[in-house]
Symmetry: C2
Subunit: 319 residues, 2 copies
């Protein structure tokens, strides 16, 4: 049974079929966030700080860190992104103690992140493109870290799930050549918008099952893509995630500050028998009650998390 | 591929793997509804009338009709239930044009319902108990109607899913002896409360998949049982239903007047590619907008259903 172990300075998270679904917070990413991009170039990290703390309070078990800013002052990301990645990783791990996901298309930025990340981060990502495999896999092997494998290759993204499965298989095999075991590959089978491709949901459910049964790998996805262009997107996402989990999906890179999706995941954990005594569900139901009474979700979740750690502190004090 | 065809006077509903999930309205049932039981004994059918119309407006594709009242004036249901079932079936089919599910533990009431139901109703239910099989299966065969098969037998309800599968298999085999094909058996694998049995969810998902792959049968369940005793039950149900659907479940006997569960089912239909062009999802999103603006769900759904049929009427008028 595939167990992908990721670590922060002092905390271990296991991605696996018998584990709570691993929610990877996606917010620390300047892509499509113009203000954040400008802030980062100006050396202002206030949003990164807030996103780190808030996502963990809301239930993120790991945080994706992407430093993909194209500076106005220097358009070469190979020069600008590595030092920014280093700064962001160091900042985030000074604030929260969860495993990090080093997310970049710039090899130097992956290298910089790996040099400073504590514990055992996850590298995001390798694809089936030859050049990318020969750059990223040696890096993952050198640092003995797991890697996200996205199932597209030099020919692009196939709409045929059999082709996407074959790409994933090829990456797993190439990783093995570099000494990386299958349980350190987390495959992203690529989720298409169901509004544009009606078979997108069924495809992913079948693909996740095959990846689990035939390759024995964990899986992840950019979950919200499935609902692109549709009304009431949270409702689509909140059904997609439990369906993917029932099919064997073990993590997602997503926004944990949305209560609808987080409720669906916590209910799915309970239904998959990955929530001992329903404790997480019962605690989350209290947060939702506060949300119904008007408290914003992030605030209610932060208060609950603080309460839990205060209670823990008192217990330790009495011991 | 199993296709269970049920019919009202003029409408056909197919339960199947490539069909929208079949929502069977559970409300017309005096069990646990003291006031409704008293009303029925007194000959007052106002609640039945409202429940019939409201459930269909809310999206029920078939209606369960249960006449299980124990009269104060006559404690023998073998005498009282058959005429009451007949009256209720005739009333319901005079108001709404959806297939009916004749639900009784009294053989005479099943017979009475079958005599008056138009189209092709579903009989609810046979179990693996010998006496029950030898009573209900000949009746289903005589009227050429499908039947719900509950996977318990003379030894009770097993907590072991392999035993429940074996019971279902035995019912399917016995039905074949009576000339009833597997596609006319809709198996209820029995959903236990996950709060009492932590493996209940996983059990059902695995069992539904086996029933589909090995016996080729459609499945149904009393969905809300899974969340019994837990806080925020609707949240558990709303994850359970999409997970069951992704595993192959094709219908449920449930309360369609709850928007949270209905939203989950409609999203699951979309994600299973059983909602052509997303039309049902887009229509439902408008109903949810009205609900967010303060309109009760049943009222918003009724208005939307009336609007759709008025628009249909105008189109016919112009033709």
């Amino acid at each position: 049974m595939a167990r992908t172990v990721i670590e922060s300075a002092s905390r271990t998270v296991v991605i696996g079929f018998d584990q709570p679904f691993c929610v990877i917070g996606e917010r620390i990413n300047p892509t499509g966030r113009k203000k954040l991009a400008a802030d980062l170039e100006a050396g202002d990290f206030a949003t990164v700080e807030r996103d780190a703390v808030e996502q963990v309070a809301c239930g993120a078990m790991a945080l994706d860190v992407n430093a993909g800013v194209v500076y106005n002052s220097n358009p070469n990301p190979n020069e600008t992104e590595p030092p920014l990645m280093r700064t962001m990783i160091e900042l985030v791990q000074s604030l929260v103690d969860v495993p990090l996901v080093i997310d970049s298309s710039v090899p130097g930025a992956l290298q910089a992140g790996l040099e400073v990340a504590k514990g055992r981060p996850l590298v995001n990502s390798v694809t089936g493109e030859d050049e990318r495999m020969e750059t990223v896999l040696p890096l993952a092997a050198k640092y003995n870290v797991p890697v996200v494998a996205i199932s597209n290759d030099d020919t692009g993204i196939s709409e045929d799930p059999d082709v996407r499965f074959a790409v994933a298989k090829r990456i797993v095999e190439r990783a093995a050549d570099h000494g990386i075991p299958a349980h350190d590959i987390v495959v992203d089978p690529l989720v298409m918008p169901v509004g544009a491709m009606a078979t997108a949901g069924r495809q992913v459910f079948a693909l996740v099952r095959r990846l689990r049964e035939e390759l024995g790998v964990n899986t992840t996805c950019g979950a919200s893509n499935v609902s692109f262009g549709l009304p009431n997107r949270h409702g689509v996402n909140a059904a997609f995630l439990p369906m993917a989990i029932a099919s064997g999906m073990t993590s997602a890179i997503m926004n944990p500050t949305r209560p609808v999706e987080m409720e669906a995941i916590r209910a799915a954990n309970l239904l998959m028998n990955n929530d001992a005594n329903g404790a997480a569900w019962i605690g989350f139901a209290r947060v939702l009650e506060a949300v119904k009474a008007g408290t914003p979700y992030a605030e209610a979740a932060t208060a609950a998390a603080a309460g839990a750690s205060r209670r823990g502190g008192r217990r330790r004090g009495r011991a």
